[in-house]
């Protein structure tokens, strides 16, 4: 299913090619497209908006971005996925953490164009058909939040921790969430939520992430 959020600019031929071959944009299809235009012409995104496609939570989303648009701004302002938070906007707080191509990243430091063709999972992807991922259930069960601003990023780092290690010890969890700052100091309860999830508590029907989970 494809949703089109590209506004304000006509679909260019390149953008169409990008959309059509987004899953393999760094692969053969895109290379062939580049060569078809001749070896001299470099692929460029000039100032102004460009229509691109991103693979977000298992769906292809078309949207308009500028070369300077970060993945975080694209998700929040273009796709209305406001789970990822803009705290510091400098990679120093972890509020913007999402999973791209199987690893957690600061989406505020990643250009949206750099995410073309890569599976992206945001915290919104952890609810399917109105049922929350057990990790999310356990965040609620353990009351692992106060103000909640860091929580979406904290959940994504916790999810990645579980993707890499099914039975993480406390130290492993602490290292995994070291890039997420919580000013309310909920770290202990976050660790409990991860441990509870690892122990199989919560509705395990959704235990395995459907998309972009492990690499």
């Amino acid at each position: 299913m494809t949703e089109d959020r590209s506004t304000g600019s006509a679909f260019s031929r390149r953008a169409f090619l990008k959309g059509a071959s987004a899953a393999a944009v760094t692969g053969a299809a895109a290379t062939a497209a580049t060569h078809a235009r001749g070896p001299v012409e470099l692929e460029t995104f000039a100032p102004g908006t460009h229509a691109i496609a991103l693979q977000v939570n298992g769906k292809e989303q078309k949207l308009a971005v500028e070369s300077r648009t970060t993945l975080l701004d694209a998700l929040r302002d273009r796709l209305d996925l406001t789970g990822a938070k803009k705290g510091c906007d400098r990679g120093a707080c972890g509020g913007c953490t999402v999973i791209v191509d199987g690893v957690t990243v600061n989406s505020c430091l990643m250009l949206a164009i750099d995410a073309i063709g890569k599976p992206i999972t945001t915290v919104e992807g952890l609810a399917q058909g109105g049922v929350d991922h057990p990790l999310v259930q356990n965040f609620a069960h353990c009351d692992a939040m106060q103000c909640g601003f860091c929580t979406p990023g904290m959940v994504m780092s916790s999810l990645q921790c579980l993707n890499q290690n099914q039975q993480p010890d406390r130290q492993t969890i602490q290292r995994a969430i070291a890039g997420n700052i919580c000013r309310c100091g909920t770290y202990g309860r976050v660790c409990e939520a991860v441990e509870r999830t690892a122990a199989g508590r919560g509705d395990q029907a959704l235990r395995a992430p459907a998309h972009g989970g492990s690499k």
């Binding site: 692929e43 070369s67 990679g91 957690t104 600061n106 750099d114 890039g179 700052i181």
Partner: protein
């Protein structure tokens, strides 16, 4: 962030051609670059993305001579987790990469980007302030300002510190790097990547405009080699080093045969201390010996008004890294 043209080369020659344009800058993950562009401290008109050159610049692979090749685009997370660096001789690389920043940053930050990132001096990094270092200001503001995280060694007119974790580890293992410029590749020692006199108004590295780092090369380490990286921080995690040291030691029969020691976060460049390392040769490891080495490593320290602590803490880190390579 100011608008720019984003250029996506698919080959090294294309990247080289694009990098030659005035106002163009090379970008890997952009961890440092995007940060500086958001601060409007650096405003390139063209940004040349190297991320699509993974086949040429990515990965960690073995070369025919047994040395390991760390592609310029290999991430810190890849280096930290690499089975190729599991042996004790390579531990400094694993530890330096694995202790940097956060999981999110390590997942994207590249080897070359970590080594070539700009100094983190808060005067340099502010677009509001005009210091001596490439910003046409009258003086180094840190020398008379808040210099708690600045240099105590090897500085001239600018007291920034080199921020890379990986660089001291690469130097301790006497690694090499390959660059490409005008279609020609050149392989040199990593020591050549940093200026001998790290002054203000100079690039923080010795690369020529448009010169692209392709890879770092790590010599095959003998089984008897051990290396380590240790750093001091104000926080247990997610913090810049206040001092750091990387060391490599080869022992035989309980006696140190070879030794190298490199300090970081205390000078404008990662700083090899060969005179201090020489004290180790022919000796048996002991805390008394390491104490003398640590004193020698900081013998010519000239602390600033707010960072005298770095000398004592740095000496402790030297002792710790030497214990780690010999215990």
């Amino acid at each position: 962030m100011k608008e720019f043209t984003y250029v996506l080369p698919r080959s090294l020659p294309e990247a080289e051609a694009a990098a030659k344009k005035p106002g163009a800058t090379l970008k890997a993950a952009g961890i440092d670059l995007v940060d500086r562009m958001k601060e409007r401290q650096f405003q390139p008109t063209e940004v040349v993305n190297l991320l699509l050159l993974q086949p040429d610049l990515g990965g960690i692979t073995a070369d025919a001579d047994g040395s390991m090749r760390i592609g310029a685009l290999a991430t810190l997370a890849q280096i930290a987790a690499s089975k190729d660096f599991a042996a004790e001789g390579y531990a400094a690389l694993r530890e330096a990469a694995g202790e940097a920043a956060t999981p999110q940053v390590r997942n994207r930050a590249t080897a070359a980007g970590n080594v070539l990132q700009q100094a983190r001096c808060w005067y340099l990094r502010s677009s509001e302030l005009h210091c001596l270092h490439g910003k046409d200001g009258p003086s180094c503001l840190a020398q008379v300002g808040d210099n708690r995280y600045h240099s105590v060694l090897g500085y001239h007119d600018c007291v920034r510190v080199h921020p890379s974790n990986l660089a001291p580890a690469l130097l301790a293992l006497d690694c090499e790097y390959t660059t490409q410029l005008a279609g020609k590749q050149q392989r040199r020692r990593v020591a050549d990547l940093f200026p001998l006199e790290p002054k203000a108004q100079l690039e923080e590295h010795t690369l020529l405009p448009g010169e692209i780092v392709i890879a770092f090369h790590v010599k095959a380490q003998p089984k008897s080699a051990r290396s380590a990286y240790r750093e001091s921080r104000e926080k247990l995690s997610f913090d810049w080093a206040t001092t750091a040291a990387a060391a490599r030691v080869v022992m035989d029969g309980g006696v140190i045969q070879e030794a190298s020691l490199v300090l970081a976060a205390v000078a404008p460049v990662p700083l090899p201390r060969p005179d201090a390392a020489k004290l180790l040769i022919g000796q048996k490891p002991s805390d008394e010996l390491f104490h003398r080495v640590a004193l020698r490593a900081f013998a010519d320290a000239r602390p600033l008004s707010h960072n005298a602590y770095k000398v004592q803490v740095g000496q402790a880190i030297v002792r710790e890294v030497l214990h780690a390579t010999t215990r």
